[in-house]
């Protein structure tokens, strides 16, 4: 569980990031700075579609620029492993409109 505000408590935990272009990236938070630039290790993208199950694309080690981040959330790994992603259908997210 995370405690307190900020990302410090999420370091070395698996997080889920939603970017401004509507992507969902899941990985282990390795670091961040004041601009919310973040380091994600062992990351993968989850691609949602209404036609087929969720696809997982392996991305590896990523530095995501803070400008491009909408949401950072802690991932409940227990709950997540119980999901059957291949049977999960969802609309892809739309990009943020500035």
């Amino acid at each position: 569980m995370s405690t307190g505000p900020g990302l410090e408590s999420l370091v070395d935990q698996t997080i889920s990031v939603i970017t401004n272009d509507g992507r969902n990236i899941v990985g282990v938070l390795k670091g961040f700075d004041q601009a919310t630039n973040i380091i994600l290790d062992e990351s993968h993208e989850r691609v949602y579609s209404t036609k087929e199950g969720v696809q997982q694309l392996v991305l590896g080690l990523y530095i995501i620029r803070g400008d491009n981040i909408s949401v950072v959330g802690e991932l409940d790994e227990e709950l997540d492993s119980a999901l059957d992603l291949s049977n999960l259908r969802a609309h892809p997210l739309k990009p943020v409109i500035h």
């Binding site: 390795k30 670091g31 700075d33 380091i39 290790d41 080690l61 995501i64």
Partner: protein, 158 residues
């Protein structure tokens, strides 16, 4: 670990940079700075749709146009070594930002907030104190008068 330290460590390694406009740049990182501006060599640029490619010997990318960077997995292990060795070398910094205490008692605060110490560094070590004893907490009103008084006192002493 800071994202920019990881980037710095990735110097000399191949990487992929995606810009906000969707173009991607594949190349070897030559240099980067604290704004995330980056200098790449031996670059292949790919258009947003991924259907057009350009080769260029080098390019320089302004940091704020970047969406994300993909770096080789092994780079993260190299950062940890570097930050550790740097932390060993660095002596602890203490007693910074103490501000400039007042010596004479009466009279309010000096005009323009001289000696209030803005630095926040050095956890728990002094910092920002008002220094000096006594004196009213009232702000600007007492300020001018106080100073005049002090000068008068000095004259008397002389």
């Amino acid at each position: 670990m800071l994202p920019l330290s990881l980037l710095k460590t990735a110097q000399g390694h191949p990487m992929l940079v995606e810009l906000k406009n969707g173009e991607t740049y594949n190349g070897h990182l030559v240099n980067c700075d604290t704004w995330m501006n980056i200098h790449l060599r031996e670059v292949i640029c790919t258009s947003k749709d991924g259907d057009r490619f350009w080769r260029m010997p080098e390019c320089y990318i302004r940091g704020n146009t970047i969406k994300y960077l993909r770096v080789p997995d092994e780079v993260i292990d190299k950062v940890q070594e570097e930050t550790k060795s740097r932390a060993d070398r660095k002596p602890p910094v203490l007693g910074r930002g103490r501000g400039r205490g007042r010596e004479d008692g009466p009279g309010g605060r000096q005009p323009k907030g001289a000696g209030r110490g803005f630095e926040d560094g050095a956890k728990g070590a002094g910092g920002r104190g008002r220094g000096g004893s006594g004196g009213k907490t009232s702000g600007s009103r007492g300020g001018g008068r106080g100073r005049v008084k002090c000068q008068a006192k000095e004259l008397q002493i002389c």
